[in-house]
């Protein structure tokens, strides 16, 4: 009688544990749609790329356009600004990665790696402070680049972080020249 009982209880346990596990797997899978629905939806992911004609932007002038809801800074830099950016030794930079989506990760943050080669007059980057997401002010700060008023991050004329709490350089989005003066972001 007792052996029969113990044998029975084992079978019972197996059924209970098996059913419980099976139910748990199903529940876990049912959770996924509820999480995944918060990811960018098909219409957001399909958002068009933006085209911009650089010709009207004069030297020393910046414009801000909206791309995927974020500001993109496009600056026609002066020779002095490029010179200033080039004069900084890379070892002095808090973030030595170019953060350029058009180049592989780990590319050194030289000024030329922040722009498209041969078009180094035009700096294109996502104008969002890498600290906590504010939009920095142009032609400001201790390095003549950008200054984020929220928590005091200073960026240089290449958009690289130089001082303050921000950990990274402002990122360069994926973009290319469709024609000599027309760029396509995204």
């Amino acid at each position: 009688m007792s052996t029969l009982d113990s044998h029975d209880s084992e079978r019972r346990d197996f059924l209970y544990i098996g059913t419980g596990a099976f139910a748990a797997v199903g529940t876990a899978m049912a959770v996924w749609p509820f999480i995944h629905q918060m990811n960018p939806d098909a219409s957001v992911k399909a958002l068009a790329s933006v085209e911009l004609d650089l010709a009207p932007i004069e030297e020393g002038q910046s414009i801000t356009i909206s791309w995927r809801g974020n500001p993109v800074f496009v600056r026609h830099r002066t020779a002095a600004e490029i010179e200033e950016a080039n004069s900084v030794p890379i070892e002095d930079l808090p973030d030595q990665d170019a953060r350029n989506a058009n180049l592989p990760e780990g590319t050194p943050a030289t000024d030329v790696n922040r722009v498209i080669d041969g078009k180094d007059k035009f700096l294109v980057m996502i104008g969002v402070c890498t600290h906590l997401g504010c939009v920095p002010v142009g032609e400001a700060g201790e390095f003549d680049g950008w200054f984020c008023p929220c928590h005091g991050s200073h960026y240089d004329t290449s958009g690289r972080i130089r001082k303050g709490p921000a950990p990274e350089n402002m990122p360069v989005p994926q973009y290319s020249y469709v024609s000599d003066t027309l760029i396509k972001i995204g």
Partner: protein
Amino acid sequence: MKTLAKLLTAAALSTALLAGPAFAAGKAKNAQDIDFSFEGPFGTFDRAQLQRGFQVYKEVCSACHSADLLHYRNLGESGGPEFSEAQVKAIAAEYEIQDGPNEDGEMFERPGRPSDKFKAPFTNANEARAANGGAYPPDMSLITKAREGFHYPWYVSPFIKMWTGNGGPEYVHAVLTGYSDPPEKEAANAPEGKSYNAYFAAGPWISMAPPLSEDGVEYSDGTKASVDQQAKDVAAFLAWAAEPKLEERKSLGLQVMIYLIILALLMYLVKLKLWRDVEH
């Protein structure tokens, strides 16, 4: 009490017999049933048919009918016509889409992109009416779900429709192919500029002239473009447009059903084991 029950049953039955035929069908004739590939629990869309149907929509219907809920990108998404990415871009680029304002504050036209909505033939409903003799060509995005091709007496309708559905795609096909000469007694009071169509829901007089013609489109896959074939293809395309996640829904449904049935069996065994020692 028994008499009461009998009376009630009799009342219900006589109601069924008297009122049934009178109210069951609207004015429109029942659409002919078509064996679409996407019917049934395992049905999927026929890609080639959706591509042909899109061609009919694009070359014929879209002259008057918008499809505001569709984007060109949808044409390349899985479960739909599945045009290639390059094809989708090319299709989108055929349209001039209004964008802007530009730096000067002006709206401008540019070639369409996959992320754009299907370009509507008219900018607003009033323009659409004005261009169509006062009749508004309805949006096509949900037309196969918003219309019913099948009408049955009320006492059988819920049971038949569980099996056949509402016949929305069939309705589209029926209206497109259902033009005929009006019966003698109707012909006399034919409204100006309207055609006779016994399948049209708000009919029988319809403002749309017969839109399809034999070989009116040229199919690249060699399918003979008869009026019937075009109507079937565009009905299938619009069925997809109204329910683009149909394939995803059915395939996930199968997995969920299998899972639930197994779990129900296991739970039943658990319950049996547990209650075996209880007299209940």
